[in-house]
């Protein structure tokens, strides 16, 4: 059983919680067809909705051969374990003020994986009101490194001066 290796391969390619959710949905759909009449092409089509590299990995691992009844059970178990692992992945929630492109998402994800955990995922949120920078939530800790927060801090420091100017 090569399930741990499959998880490790997949998790390296997965960057965000959105992508993981898509994979989980696909695996759940696949799991629902595991004990029905075997239609390899239909099963492969389930994974083709995912990014190509991940889809190829899943197709090669789970649908290449027409399994026996015993093999179906093993695949089912493998899928369930994979689902459990994916569901238990830790994530870092990052709220930013701009819409990042794919390269930028990769940049942030790589940084997260490198500096925290290889299986760590990025939960990206978009909020223009923070102006710039980011709000970070990780392991139950919230930190606000946004430009808005910096402005507020600066305003608090210079509040009295601003008040004097407004009088």
């Amino acid at each position: 059983m090569n399930n741990p290796a499959l998880f490790d391969q997949i998790i390296v390619k997965l960057r965000t919680t959105t992508e993981v959710t898509q994979v989980i949905h696909s695996l759940e759909e696949f799991s629902g067809t595991a004990f029905g009449p075997t239609d390899i092409i239909a099963q492969q089509q389930i994974f083709q909705k995912l990014p190509k590299e991940i889809a190829d990995m899943l197709i090669n691992s789970l649908t290449k051969q027409s399994p026996t009844a015993e093999g179906k059970i093993l695949i089912k178990r493998q899928v369930n374990e994979l689902l459990d692992k994916l569901r238990s992945c830790k994530s870092v929630k990052l709220t930013i003020a701009f819409q990042p492109d794919d390269a930028t998402v990769s940049l942030f994800s790589d940084w997260i994986k490198t500096n925290t955990n290889q299986s760590a995922l990025l939960d990206l949120q978009f909020d223009r009101s923070i102006v710039g920078g980011a709000q970070v939530i990780a392991g139950g800790i919230y930190k606000d490194y946004s430009v808005r927060k910096n402005l507020i801090n600066r305003y608090q420091i210079q509040r009295d001066e601003i008040m004097e100017l407004l009088k």
């Binding site: 710039g132 946004s146 808005r148 305003y155």
Partner: protein
């Protein structure tokens, strides 16, 4: 029928005894009847004497009374005659004595009048002096009373003024505190409003200026800086 001799003897003795007793009783009765007769006679004599004696006594008393009255009249006439003489003598003496007494009284009254006049004058002088002294004393008393009253009035006035000042000061302090509280609340509300407005303005200006002004690479840089800072602050531990 045969009678017992003994019983006959006894009967004879009893009859004899009764006869003796009867004899003595008859004799005593006779004596008593004589005594009663003598007594009635003496009684009649006495009654006769008693009916004659009061009249004689009254007549005798009347005679004696007449005699006493005659003697009394005679004595009274003598007394009146002697008293007339005495009256004449007494009147003359009395007139002389009255004349002397009148003279003495005139002298005494004259002297008394002069004494009284002198005493009255002295009294008036004394009263005048006392009046003057009293007046002076009264003036001084009035002056001291007025001064004391004035001092008391001034003290009361000062006290009332101080109390009034204190009350006014307390009232002003209370008003000032209330005003200060209101002012603080107003300032707090105003600050909150200004804060909210400032935040809104800052957000709006920041959004308008910075969002338009921050370049994409700068955004990326800011996020990376944020991640680095989070790492330094051990958010990912």
């Amino acid at each position: 029928m045969i009678i017992d001799p003994i019983a006959l003897i006894f009967l004879t003795i009893a009859i004899t005894t009764l006869a003796v007793v009867l004899f003595f009783l008859a004799r005593a009765f006779t004596k008593n009847a004589q005594l009663l007769h003598e007594t009635e006679k003496a009684n009649a004599h006495l009654q006769e004497q008693l009916s004659e004696k009061p009249i004689r006594l009254l007549e005798k008393a009347h005679e004696q009374a007449q005699e006493i009255m005659d003697q009394a009249n005679k004595k009274a006439s003598e007394i009146l005659a002697s008293s007339k003489t005495y009256e004449d003598n007494s009147s003359q003496i009395l007139r002389d004595k009255l004349s002397d007494l009148e003279k003495q009284q005139a002298t005494i009254f004259t002297k008394a009048s002069e004494d009284m006049k002198l005493a009255y004058q002295n009294l008036i002088t004394q009263i005048q002096e006392e009046d003057i002294n009293t007046l002076k004393s009264m003036t001084k008393d009035i002056e001291s009373d007025v001064l004391a009253d004035f001092k008391e009035f001034r003290d009361v006035l000062e006290k009332e003024t101080i109390n009034s000042e204190k009350v006014v000061k307390e009232k002003i302090d209370e008003e000032y505190l209330a005003l200060e509280k209101d002012l603080d609340e107003y300032k707090t509300q105003k600050y909150q409003k200004i804060d909210e407005d400032i935040y809104k303005i800052l957000y709006r200006v920041s959004e308008m200026v910075l969002n338009e002004g921050i370049e994409y690479d700068k955004h990326k840089e800011l996020v990376m800086d944020a991640l680095e800072t989070a790492k330094k602050e051990q958010v990912f531990q």
